[in-house]
């Protein structure tokens, strides 16, 4: 009874402070909405409208038709017409264009030569995504060749895209973004919440009262669990309304997974708060942790494509497991029992981080 009263006192105090801290209060709603709008609309792996230049040295009926066809695909946006391949190279180098089409003077004759390609696509290949898109353009048929095109045999493999047949990036991005947003806000809020008390001297008073470390820690993280769940609801709602991201599996299971994930991040935030001395350091450590959570978790780059050693690092990050859970539940209609391994890892992570935080937090100043 004593225990719960003390924990409730800390929770109530946190809520009172939060209510008066307009900026943090705004961030609870602001961070998820802003990031979703930004990333939901901005991240697009289905690339279109690459800025392009064309140098048509042939300028025949056929070549002009060919350039028009390329433009029709909407993959290329011909902004510049130049004369030579050198000019295209210069524009690539200066970053004005991503793709250049070079059509040599003997284009018409080359189209009939099976051993040689008729024209060149000069691509800024530094970006693999752009290169991949450019590769697709290789299959574009020539109009005069309509008879031959019809004769072309079907490819050996036909791709059937499950779970996201319209290939909308938002469907893939937003379930992953959930983890990023929760990692950022949960870690930052708890780390800062404890460190702020240390900076303001409140902790010197608190540790001189009969409250135990565990009571203090539980009281500190409980309000943020609720905030995390509110953020989750916000992300799911915005995702469904604006980006038509489906939740094909059980919403309850999604919340259950999120609850464990939030607990893992809050515990980590508490642990960080026992290491750092200032709020600024807390923010630095959070960012240090956030970057791998974005880059190595499978959010941006496919997990399978990473080096083995980096995959091991990725496996340590809670976000990696949470992304597998959200994508599984939301997109593939998977159940938690099918994904139990991910939940177990998250529970383990939360337990270890919480224990470490309680052990490291001393009711002393030395």
């Amino acid at each position: 009874m004593n225990h719960s009263a003390r924990i409730l006192a800390v929770i109530w105090k946190e809520l009172l402070q939060l209510r008066r801290d307009r900026l943090t209060f705004g961030m609870i709603v602001g961070i998820p909405v802003m990031q979703m709008l930004l990333f939901g609309y901005a991240i697009n792996t289905d690339v279109r409208h690459l800025v392009a230049a064309v140098a048509d040295q042939c300028n025949s009926h056929l070549s002009r038709q060919f350039v028009a066809d390329l433009g029709q695909t909407q993959v290329l946006d011909f902004r510049y017409v130049v004369d030579t391949a050198e000019e295209i190279e210069a524009m690539l180098r200066s970053g004005k264009i991503s793709v250049g089409v070079y059509i040599p003077a003997d284009f018409d004759r080359r189209t009939l030569d099976k051993r040689r390609s008729a024209a060149h696509l000069l691509v800024d290949g530094a970006d693999p995504t752009i290169l991949g898109v450019a590769n697709q353009l290789r299959n574009i048929p020539l109009k005069f060749d309509s008879v031959k095109a019809a004769q072309k045999r079907a490819p050996v493999l036909e791709v059937r895209p499950y779970y996201n047949p319209e290939r909308r990036s938002a469907v893939f991005v937003i379930p992953g973004l959930m983890g990023i947003i929760l990692t950022l806000t949960m870690m930052l809020f708890t780390a800062v919440a404890v460190v702020r008390e240390r900076e303001h001297g409140n902790l010197e008073l608190l540790i001189n009262t009969p409250i135990s470390t565990t009571q203090l820690m539980i009281g500190k993280i409980a309000p943020y669990i609720v905030i995390g769940l509110v953020q989750l609801a916000l992300i799911i709602t915005v995702g469904m309304l604006l980006f038509k991201v489906p939740v094909r599996g059980s919403v309850l299971e999604l919340y259950l997974a999120a609850l464990v994930f939030i607990a893992a991040n809050l515990s980590l935030g508490l642990f960080v708060s026992t290491i750092v001395k200032t709020q600024f350091q807390a923010i630095q450590v959070t960012i240090f942790f956030l970057l791998p959570s974005i880059l190595l978790s499978g959010f941006v780059f496919p997990f399978d494509g990473m080096q083995k050693i980096v995959q091991y690092i990725g496996e340590i990050l809670p976000n990696t497991h949470f992304i597998r859970l959200t994508r599984g539940i939301m997109l593939r209609d998977a159940t938690i029992s099918e994904l139990y391994k991910e939940i177990v890892v998250l529970i383990l992570f939360a337990a270890v981080a919480m224990t470490a935080a309680v052990l490291r937090f001393k009711k002393r100043l030395d």
């Binding site: 006192a9 105090k13 009172l16 001189n208 009969p210 009711k363």
Partner: protein, 317 residues
Amino acid sequence: MNDKADLVIRARGLTKRFGQLTAIDHLDLDVPRSIIYGFLGPNGSGKTTAIRMLCGLLTPSDGSATVLGLDIPGDAGDLKSRIGYMTQNFSLYDDLTTLENLRFIADIYSYPRARRSARIDELLQLYGLEEQKKQLAATMSGGQKQKLALACAVLNEPELLLLDEPTSAVDPKSRRDFWASLFALADAGTTLLVSTHYMDEAERCHRLAILDRGKKVADGTPAELQAQTGMSVVQVIAQYTLAAQSALQKLPEIRSVTQLGVRLRVLVPKRISDPLALVSAALGAQGIESDCALVQPSLEDVFVAVTLQEQDREIAA
């Protein structure tokens, strides 16, 4: 009942080192019940470190201490609910109101819910904070903040109250009121340990210890300390105060010359049989007209004298 049982704090050889620095060097301390005990010392003399060790916030590097019969730091956990601690800087929540801060503290100390609001009302009235009830701590004056801090520190009716430079941020009127509150607490049976660097505050303590660079250089009641200075104090009102000061400082027998307005306070060791003659002669030789008189040593004189003696001992050693 033996003597030991009536000592609220008993420390022997209490030492705290931070790396190379010895913040508190073998402190022996006996604080009897229901008095105001003062720690007098300049900044950096180790007052805060000593208080933090006594409430279990810092682990002593050496030595032992019993506070309210509990061993420090081993039993510090049990001690927390029986002591009140007022930190040097305001450590309550700036973004909570007076009432919210008090309620929070009450709940943290598990103060019975049934009596909570009666106790808080009592404290608000006692410390004149009723009008600030719904005011955020951040917007209150230094004096009001300090009263709130005191109210929170005594809320759970502690047997021992530790106050670390409680009046460093308040005006003289608030300081007087604050000390009246402290005397009332001591009358009611609370033992208070107050650190300060104000001489006038030290004079109000029942007993005090003078700390200098981590060492206790003297202790006793203010009157005892004044009697034991080992220095005679000559008060000089001279025609040219500055010239008089420099003339006197040249004399090897004279330990210290302090200017207080138009007066000079001159410390002369007791072994000089006629300090008045020594001072007048020195000033007369320089052609400075003066009016000299022997006076009672103040606590400031005591403080200067004991720190000088400590320096002498160090030089000798």
